[in-house]
Symmetry: C2
C-alpha cells in the first residue's frame, strides 16, 4: 500500500456518513477561528469540525477517515507560527479539535497525566496545585494546548534548564492513522524497551499520530528564585556572560534571554506599555533567571556574577520582589507583540551552535545591509543558541514595499544558517506548512528519505495533517 | 519489498567478494572476545570481523551486505548485559567493530564531535581537556564505546541530573541499512526541523542504523561537589529523602543511589575489598552526590539535609575529601562485581514510577518468598525510579539448583512490574536478545506494530543486528 492516491474531500456526503459511523461525536461547521493562524498568512479550509470527548471517539473518527481516505488537520490552541494548524490547499479535510478532552487523569508529585486539549496554563496550574512545577513556559500559554505543545515540541524561555516539551514528557496516548490507539502513558523516568516512539511522535506536528493525552514530568520548584536584567556591550559579551553564569551556577540558570535595543525601541514606538528599567535603552541586554538551592540568596548571587563579569556587564537591574521580576518578564514577553504591531517582513526562528551566536548576528546583519534597508530585531533564547532574528521595514517605510524581496530575505538568512553555521531553520516553531520547501532544499537527503519512509510506514494513506513537514501526496 | 526472505550467511565465498568490493577494509577472523558477553549466556558467531577506519568504509560494507542480504552485528565495547552484541543463532553474520574509528573531530566548550569507537572514558577525558564534563558515568566506561552507549541509550549514576545518553547527544552520523550515510552531526541545543530521527536511532541497539560518530553535549562541572552516604530505615525513607533533597537542591542532586544491606554483605563475603563506612551495615542506605553553585559548601548542605531529614536518616558519612568521595563511589560501583561473584539466578533492570519504589520492593520481596528461598540484592538508581532487582541463591546453595525456576522468577518479576506498576522490564540495559520474547508479550500491541513498521521501513531486508529488539525475519 503505497498511499500515493490523492485524498478525498470531507464533503457533505462524507460528513453524513461520518455522523452515522461515529454516533455521539460532536460535528459542526468550523467557525473562522479554527481556520486562522496568528500571522495571517494562511486561511484554512475544513469540511467539518470534529470535537471528540473521548479517545474512543478519536479512534473511531480516524479509523473512518482512514477508510475513506479523508485528511484530518488537528487544531490545538491555534498559536503555532508556521501554519501547521490550517490547511489552505488540497482536498478539504476534517478539522479536529480536542478542546473538550482536557481532564486531569492522574497526578502525584512526579507526574501529571492530562488530556491533550488542556491549555499549557491549565497544566501549569495542575502542577502548582500539588506543589510542583511544569516548567514549559510560552507567551501563548493561556491558549496553547498541551497536545499542540507536544506535537510541535514547543520550547520557550526555560529550555536552557528544563529542555523542550520533549524532555518534559514521560509518556503518550496516541491515536494512529488507522484509528489504532497506542496506550503509552508510562510515568517512568527511564524505559529502554525498544524504539523511542514517544519522541518520534513528539515534534511530528500531527503527521504521524494524534496525541490524546500525555504523562508529564513535574519538577520541584527551586527553593530560591531571582530575576535580573543586565546590560551587555555586545552579543559576544552575552555569550561570555552565559559561560560565567554556568560556571558559577551550573544547573541553576533557568533562563538567559537576549534583548536588543531595537526590541526596546519597538516597545517605546508601538507598545504595549511596559516598564523599561534602564534610562537609556542599551543596545543589548540579557534577562537572567536563577533558581537556586536553599541557603543561597538571589541578590547576592547576581551581585557575585556582576562582580565577576567585569566589562561584560555595563549596568544591571536586579528584581527586588516577585512583582519586579514579573515586570521584567512582561517586558521580555511583550516583544513579540510589538513585533507584530510593527509588522515583520520575514521572521526567522534559527539556531546555531551557542558559541557562534555573535558571528551569526554579525554576518546576518552585514548580509542584510547589502540586500536592503531594514530594522533588525534579534532576540530570544541565546542560552540555547536559538534566536528570533526578525527583519522589519526601515523607519517610515511600509512592509508592503518589501513584498518583492521577502522570499530573498528569508532564503538568504536560511542559507547563511545552514551553509555557514550548520544551524537550524526552525529551532522551536517547527516546519508546519511554511517551511516545507525550505526543509526539502536544506536538509540532508538521507534525513528526508528516512522521514518519508517513516511517514509512509505509519500513515500509508497520508491522512494525518497532510502537507505538514513533508509535501502532501499528489 | 517486505524483507521476509531469510538472510544469507557470511560464508567464505561472501567474505572473498566483500574483500574485493571494499578494498582497504580490514577483515579478519573474529577473536573470541568479539563473540562473548559479560554474563556468559550467549556465545556469538561471525563469518568475519570487519574493522573499518572511515565512515566511507562502513557505508561500502553495509551497502554490500544489503545487496547480498547478509546480517551485520555491531560490537562496541562488549559490555552490554542483554546479548545485543552477539548473535548466536541464525545465518552467520558479519561482526562489525568501530574500534579503529575513535578520533575527536571537533571540540569546543559546548560540544564534542567524536567517532563511535572511542571509549566513554576517552569521551570524558576529551571533555575534561577543555574544562567541561561529559556526565554519562558507568562502571564499564573504560571499555564501553560511545557508539554502543548511544545505540543502547545507556544510563548510569548521573541520569537524575543529566538524563540518559539520549539527552547528552546533539547529533549523529549514521550509516543506514543500504549504506546511505546520514550526515546529522548538528551541534544544536534546539532543532525542530522534522521527525526526531536522532532519538529514534539512539536506543535502537544497532537495528536501524550504525552510529559512526556523535556530537555530544558538554556540561559545565558544578562549582562545588560533595558525596555522602546516608543510612535510612527503609526504601520509603529513601524516597522521602529524595523529595527533601530535591526541594532544597533542585537541579543540583547529581546522583541518588540506593544500596541494600545484602549488597554490603556480598561485598564482605566475596569482595572486592572496599571500605565499608558504617560499623554495622545498615539494611538500606543512599549514596548522594550534590553539585552546587559557587558560594555553597557541600558539607554544610549535607548537614542541613541531615537536620531536615529527622527520622528519615539514622546515620551519615560525609566525604571530607575527593579521595573519600571516590571511596564511597568505589563501594557503590563494586556491587555489580560482587553480584557476579555470587552469581545471580535472575537479574532485573526495572523501572516503576518513583513514588512506587517502596511498594514494588515490598511486593516483589513477598512474591519471591512464595516461590523459593532466595537472597535479594536490590540497588541502584532510585532517583530515577530504576532498580537493579537481582535474585540470588540462599546462603550455602548453588545457582545451578535454581535452574528449573529461573524463568519462572524472571517472568514473575516482570509481570509484577508491568501489570501492577505499569513499569519497564528494561529501564537502562535495553532489550538485546535476552528480552525479545518478554517485550513481545508485555508491550502494547500498537507499540510493537509501530516498531515493526519502522524496522521494515528503514531496514527492509533486516540485515542490521538481526534478532535484537524484534525477532529476526524467518
Amino acid at each position: 500500500m503505497k498511499g500515493k492516491a490523492v485524498l478525498n474531500p470531507a464533503d457533505a456526503a462524507f460528513v453524513k456518513r461520518l455522523a452515522v459511523a461515529v454516533p455521539g461525536l460532536w460535528l459542526g461547521a468550523a467557525e473562522p477561528r479554527y481556520l486562522e493562524e496568528p500571522r495571517g498568512r494562511w486561511r484554512g479550509q475544513a469540511g467539518v469540525l470534529a470535537r471528540p470527548e473521548t479517545v474512543a471517539q478519536v479512534s473511531a473518527l480516524l479509523g473512518f477517515c482512514h477508510a475513506e481516505r479523508v485528511g484530518v488537520v488537528p487544531f490545538g490552541g491555534g498559536t503555532g507560527l508556521v501554519g501547521g494548524q490550517v490547511a489552505s490547499e488540497g482536498p478539504v479535510p476534517v478539522a479536529l479539535s480536542l478542546e473538550r478532552m482536557r481532564a486531569v487523569r492522574q497526578v502525584d508529585g512526579q507526574a501529571l497525566v492530562i488530556e491533550a486539549g488542556a491549555t499549557l496554563q491549565a497544566v501549569q496550574d495542575a502542577a502548582a496545585a500539588v506543589g510542583k512545577r511544569f516548567p514549559l513556559t510560552l507567551a501563548s500559554q493561556g491558549s496553547a494546548q498541551i497536545g499542540g505543545c507536544l506535537a510541535t515540541n514547543a520550547g520557550g524561555v526555560n529550555v536552557l534548564r528544563y529542555g523542550t516539551a520533549r524532555a518534559l514528557c514521560l509518556g503518550l496516548e496516541v491515536v494512529l492513522a488507522d484509528g489504532t490507539i497506542w496506550h503509552g502513558l508510562k510515568r517512568l523516568a527511564k524505559d529502554n524497551t525498544g524504539y523511542d516512539l514517544r519522541d518520534l511522535i513528539i515534534g511530528s506536528e500531527g503527521s504521524l499520530g494524534i496525541i490524546t493525552a500525555a504523562s508529564l514530568r513535574l519538577h520541584e520548584p527551586p527553593a530560591v528564585e531571582g530575576v535580573a536584567l543586565l546590560a551587555v556591550p555586545s552579543p559576544a559579551a552575552a555569550v561570555a556572560l552565559l559561560g560565567l553564569a554556568q560556571a558559577r551556577f551550573a544547573g541553576c540558570v533557568s533562563a538567559f534571554e537576549l534583548i536588543s535595543g531595537q526590541g526596546l525601541a519597538f516597545l517605546r514606538e508601538v507598545g504595549p506599555e511596559v516598564a523599561l528599567p534602564f534610562a537609556a535603552d542599551p543596545d543589548w541586554s540579557v534577562l537572567i533567571e536563577l533558581g537556586l538551592p536553599a541557603g543561597m540568596e538571589a541578590e547576592a548571587a547576581f551581585a557575585d556574577l556582576y562582580e565577576a563579569a567585569g566589562d561584560l556587564v555595563s549596568d544591571a537591574v536586579v528584581a527586588q520582589s516577585g512583582v519586579q521580576a514579573a515586570a521584567l518578564w512582561q517586558m521580555r514577553e511583550s516583544i513579540p507583540l510589538a513585533n507584530r504591531r510593527i509588522g515583520a517582513i520575514s521572521s526567522h526562528d534559527i539556531a546555531v551552535p551557542g558559541a557562534d551566536i555573535p558571528a551569526f548576528i554579525a554576518a546576518a546583519t552585514e548580509m542584510l545591509r547589502e540586500i536592503g534597508d531594514f530594522r533588525l530585531n534579534c532576540f530570544g533564547h541565546v542560552g540555547d543558541g536559538n534566536l528570533h532574528f526578525n527583519v522589519f521595514p526601515a523607519e517610515g517605510r511600509r512592509r508592503e514595499e518589501y513584498e518583492a524581496i521577502r522570499s530573498e530575505v528569508m532564503a538568504a538568512v536560511h542559507r547563511l544558517v545552514v551553509k555557514r553555521f550548520d544551524g537550524s531553520i526552525s529551532a522551536e516553531h517547527g516546519i508546519g506548512r511554511l517551511k516545507v520547501g525550505e526543509l526539502a532544499r536544506s536538509a540532508a537527503p538521507a534525513k528526508m528519505a528516512m522521514m518519508r519512509a517513516i511517514k509512509t510506514a505509519l500513515d500509508p494513506r497520508g491522512i494525518l495533517n497532510p502537507g505538514v513537514i513533508l509535501p502532501a501526496a499528489s
